[in-house]
């Protein structure tokens, strides 16, 4: 079993065509294009570790306002009740909407933390050139890519509420800055996962791991 890189080949990111390149061709100007779809060919995504880190750190910083500043305020008969991400979940629990509360808890609380912790762990392991449990780390990476977008549920819920509940002093709903920070966390972690190149996990996997499978 050998990789494309070990054979001086590169697989196009977009159309999967395998193109033969010299061992030193990649990363040198002029850029090499895929002969089928004209995408720029890379053995590995350029600067992926630095880009993933930068976006992830920005997400970690915004994670704090996202969870402490209200995402929206419901005002009814002059009385305003601000909601944070967590208090929204608690209100659903108090209203006995258990499945919906579980869904929002998972999408808005579990998924962002899971993504931040797992991407950090994968980045650190790659920087330490670890070959440890490469298959499991790839699986976790795949999972963070799939579940990331589901955190947008709360943002879309707010979008429905602010467009619908506009009854003057009976009931109105206002957006809070927490929602901006939260949306930014979701988008930044999505880009962080996209910029990471999972093939880096395998570049340091030991040959004995290859034998096991």
């Amino acid at each position: 079993m050998t990789t494309a890189r070990e054979n001086s080949l590169v697989g196009c990111h977009h159309c999967n065509l395998i193109v033969a390149v010299g061992p030193d061709d990649i990363g040198l100007a002029p850029k090499i294009m895929c002969p089928r779809c004209s995408s720029v060919l890379h053995q590995r995504k350029p600067n992926s570790i630095a880009r993933s880190w930068a976006l992830l750190i920005a997400a970690v910083i915004l994670y704090i306002p996202a969870n402490t500043i209200p995402i929206m305020t419901v005002t009814s008969f002059g009385e305003g009740s601000p909601d944070t991400i967590m208090s929204g979940v608690i209100h659903l629990l108090e209203a006995d909407q258990i499945p919906i509360a579980a869904l929002v808890f998972f999408a808005s609380i579990v998924v962002p933390i899971f993504k931040i912790v797992m991407i950090s762990m994968i980045l650190i392991s790659v920087q330490f050139k670890s070959g440890w449990r490469a298959k499991d780390r790839t699986l976790i990476y795949r999972l963070t890519e799939v579940v990331g977008r589901w955190s947008m549920i709360d943002i879309f819920m707010i979008s429905i509420l602010v467009g619908l509940v506009k009854l003057g002093n009976i009931a109105t709903i206002e957006v809070g800055f927490g929602a901006v920070a939260f949306a930014a966390v979701v988008v930044l972690t999505m880009f962080s996962a996209t910029y990471f190149d999972p093939r880096l996990i395998w570049d340091h996997a030991q040959s004995n791991e290859l034998m096991e499978d």
Binding site: L17, R36, T138, F156, L164, L167, A179, A183, R199, W202
Partner: protein, 205 residues
């Protein structure tokens, strides 16, 4: 440039595999990390094309009919898919408005139109102008067209309001739910190789 049409590299671990013919409905996975390599889908072109056209019709219905009606204390209010975006704009939340507008309306529309642009001519046996660029855009936008996530957002909003108000679903809600199913099915039935196979590479292929 030298190409190898009989090989594929795993996009998650870079392992090389020989491409083999598959029975329809079966999928080839990477033997090292388990990532999906390719899948053989029966009638991929026809199925994806009809789902795409259905999707465009549902998209129009979802955007032009009322989504929900909200009644409280004898007063009522209706919204459309775009209402929340407009409300974000008018209250000064430009970033949120643009984000929600893009991922719930613009990207799904570009996705559906792009698919139709590529697949209708292919079905009739020729390649549209700039096919590859359009198809790459469609491929890139896929995770950012968040119809199914938005659908859950609507459900959560309905549950939150149903405690103190009466909520009546409109035609757009059912169209949107249909769109969610149709886009998921179109994603599952598209074999991107039907597009790539239609491209010749300077006689070397």
């Amino acid at each position: 440039m030298n190409i190898h049409a009989d090989l594929i590299a795993c996009h998650e671990c870079d392992l090389l595999h020989q491409i083999v013919a598959l029975d329809s409905g079966s999928q080839a996975n990477c033997i090292r990390c388990g990532a999906k390599l390719y899948k053989e889908i029966r009638n991929s072109l026809d199925r994806t094309l009809s789902l795409t056209v259905t999707g465009l019709i549902l998209f129009l219905l979802a955007n032009f009919y009322p989504l929900l009606t909200f009644e409280m204390q004898g007063r009522s209010q209706q919204n459309n898919l775009i209402s929340g975006v407009l409300e974000f704009f008018s209250s000064g939340f430009w970033g949120l408005g643009i984000l929600v507008f893009l991922v719930s309306i613009i990207f799904p529309l570009i996705y559906l139109l792009g698919m139709a642009y590529v697949l209708v001519p292919l079905r009739m046996g020729h390649k549209p102008w700039k096919m590859i660029s359009v198809f790459k855009v469609v491929d890139y936008l896929r995770p950012w067209a968040m119809i199914e996530v938005y659908m859950l957002g609507i459900i959560v909003a309905i549950v939150k309001l149903s405690d103190f108000a009466t909520i009546t679903p409109g035609i757009a809600l059912f169209s949107f739910a249909g769109l969610f199913v149709v886009i998921a099915a179109a994603n599952a039935s598209l074999d991107p190789r039907i597009v790539w196979r239609s491209v010749d590479i300077d006689g070397e292929y």
